[in-house]
């Protein structure tokens, strides 16, 4: 395996004539929290879906955990956790049933299952509510449980697609604490967002606009390059420059 968790080279995805991802090249190191920042429709989700093997790239190459997503999607899937903005849990199963189900599907070793289940319950703050129906949980708890279920198999790489949309600021803050814990444990976190405060939390950022990656660097580097004080200003300025250049 290379030193990078994710290697993307000239990745392009077209839907008909629409170019959703336009010639993107970047690498993500191990243990890094890598952010994808951009307005809606910038191609963030499409890129993540390609990296998870849900969509086939039109051209270019993507290597995740050492495996090519186009040719070995099953091997990629065994090494990643994925959580979308929809917190995809079964509403009509209980908390414990959701955890048990995903443990089985991910093929977590039988002797490790109780430990992993306890971990998922602890991190989502649902100890004592194992038998609650998932549909009765508030959004913040559902979000944490969805993350817990997505990482039961301890994947080295975790993809989070707008994981905090529709969740209150306090729940968002504590969710980012979780992301830091994962990163400190050596897991790579690839996260998309359109919240500027969240962008600040990332180790490195890629700014996406209309399918193109328009800048890449640490939050400090990006701010310095444009002489701006906040990520929001960086974001607006970068997009305005891109618009001006394309006219």
């Amino acid at each position: 395996m290379s030193e990078f968790s994710v290697v993307i080279e000239h990745l392009t995805k077209r839907f008909g004539t629409f170019v959703a991802v336009d010639n993107v090249t970047l690498n993500v190191g191990k243990g890094e929290i890598f952010g994808f920042l951009g307005p809606n429709g910038a191609g963030k989700s499409t890129t993540i879906r390609i990296l998870c093997g849900l969509l086939a790239p039109t051209s270019g190459k993507a290597i995740v955990a050492g495996y090519n997503v186009a040719s070995d999607p099953e091997l990629v899937r065994a090494n990643i956790g994925y959580m979308s903005q929809r917190f995809s849990l079964y509403d009509d199963l209980t908390v414990a049933e959701n955890i048990d189900f995903f443990s089985g599907i991910y093929g977590v070793a039988k002797d490790k299952r109780p430990i992993r289940k306890q971990y998922a319950l602890d991190m989502s703050g649902l100890v004592g509510r194992e038998d609650s129906m998932t549909r009765t949980l508030p959004g913040g708890l559902k979000q944490r449980l969805a993350l817990g279920c997505a990482i039961l198999h301890e994947p080295p790489i975790i993809f989070l697609d707008e994981p905090t949309s529709g969740v209150d600021p306090i729940a968002r803050r504590s969710f980012w604490d979780l992301i830091y814990q994962l990163s400190e444990a050596g897991q790579t976190v690839f996260v998309t967002t359109h919240y500027m405060d969240e962008a600040e939390y990332c180790h490195r950022l890629a700014l996406m606009y209309k399918g193109k990656m328009i800048s890449l660097g640490t939050p400090a580097e990006l701010k310095q390059a444009l002489g701006k004080g906040s990520m929001e200003e960086v974001f607006v300025e970068s997009i305005e420059r891109e618009e001006a250049a394309s006219v």
Binding site: C52, R77, S84, E97, G104
Partner: protein, 383 residues
């Protein structure tokens, strides 16, 4: 592999059996259809109501009336006087038919001439009309046979007084005997058919809904990024509904036999065996519907759109041999058609695999084809 399939099956069964709404879908349709087709839909004609119009008023005409009233099939409810009454009673649907004895009836009989009885039947419902008409004819024929015999005897006796001799005519009597359903109970015909409908409707809609529901709430995307293989997903998604289909088969068979007294003349084992192939067809079709639908509404509409014509062309109530030839060819692609023949064959005729193998083979071929096509369409990609 089996581990993941087992997890899927446990999860599916939990989800299906826990929801009150889902449980209702499992119990209500079979119950309602059984009640409707077992009790309400009855094509048998018993105690048909007749009106009587006697324009002869003779001993013979009264004898014929006794023949009619003596038969359990008819109830004479009205006695009419005029032509106008005849129209009115028909218009008001007071009777199924009118028997009219024309003047000179007795005289014609006495002279050995053809005597006329007119039977007017309400043809609004063609099925009832043809049954009433046949039954009336039978009663009249019996009456005329009796009269003829009496006449012959009188003539034979009268030889002594030097009358012309008529040799006794040999009379042919037809005694129709109905096989497989001797009492011609429509219930015997419909209840096994309900079995086919229910298995079809329930397994088809459950399979398509179960997959599309996951697409709708986003868990399908979540499943796709797990190491589960498409074939495991398909097996895990279909086996629970196959099991539910089998349980419904047993339930409807029991109710049919115990409540509706429908005979199961053939082998229960063969019934179960052949239904496996039928369920293969319905699951394959359900899977196919789920690959072309994105929302539960779409899946539901498509299910109905597929089920309705298949039901019409299954021979459940409309005989396939009466359909235009092109439509008859189309029915060869309809799994319900074959299973309907198998089920009725086993229940009513009591025939075995030596007779029913072509139908069972057709089900196996259709089922494997549709299941294979759907499985190929069912990939773990979003585009």
């Amino acid at each position: 592999m089996w581990e993941r399939i087992r997890e899927m099956i446990i999860k599916e069964l939990k989800q299906t059996l826990r929801e009150p709404k889902m449980r209702a879908t499992l119990i209500m349709p079979p119950l309602i259809q059984l009640l409707v087709f077992g009790y309400a839909v009855n094509l048998d004609v018993e105690h048909a109501k007749l009106a009587w119009m006697d324009q002869d008023r003779s001993i013979e005409s009264r004898e014929l009336l006794e023949q009619f009233t003596g038969s359990a099939r008819f109830t004479v409810v009205r006695f009419l006087e005029s032509e106008q009454d005849t129209h009115l009673t028909h218009d008001r649907s007071e009777v199924e038919g009118v028997v009219r004895i024309l003047p000179g009836f007795a005289a014609d009989i006495a002279r050995g001439r053809a005597a006329s009885v007119q039977v007017l039947v309400d043809g609004t419902n063609s099925n009832t009309a043809s049954i009433v008409s046949t039954q009336c004819t039978q009663v009249i024929r019996q009456f005329s046979a009796k009269k003829l015999e009496k006449l012959q005897r009188q003539k034979l006796v009268g030889r002594a007084v030097d009358r012309p001799l008529f040799a006794p005519l040999p009379t042919l009597t037809i005694e129709p005997r109905v096989w497989f359903n001797p009492e011609l109970r429509s219930r015997n015909y419909f209840v096994p058919g309900v079995l086919v409908n229910i298995i079809m409707l329930v397994t088809l809609s459950l399979t398509s809904m179960a997959i599309v529901r996951e697409k709708e709430i986003g868990t399908m995307e979540q499943l796709m990024v797990t190491p589960i293989r498409p074939i495991e997903l398909i097996i895990g998604k279909t086996l629970p509904f196959a099991a539910i289909g089998m349980i419904q088969l047993l339930f409807i068979t029991m109710v049919g036999m115990l409540v509706f007294q429908v005979p199961l003349n053939g082998s229960p084992g063969l019934l179960v065996f052949s239904s496996l192939f039928f369920i293969e067809c319905t699951l394959g079709l359900g899977l196919f519907i789920s690959t072309i639908s994105n929302t539960q509404q779409q899946a539901m509409m498509t299910t109905l759109f597929v089920f309705q014509p298949m039901f019409m062309l299954s021979g459940f109530s409309f005989p396939i041999r009466n359909m235009p030839e092109i439509v008859q060819w189309v029915t060869y692609l309809n799994p319900m058609r074959y299973f309907m023949e198998v089920v009725r064959g086993i229940f009513l005729k009591g025939v075995g695999i030596e007779i029913l193998w072509p139908q069972i083979l057709a089900l196996a071929v259709l089922g494997t084809t549709i299941l294979a096509i759907s499985a190929m369409r069912f990939r773990k990609r979003l585009d």
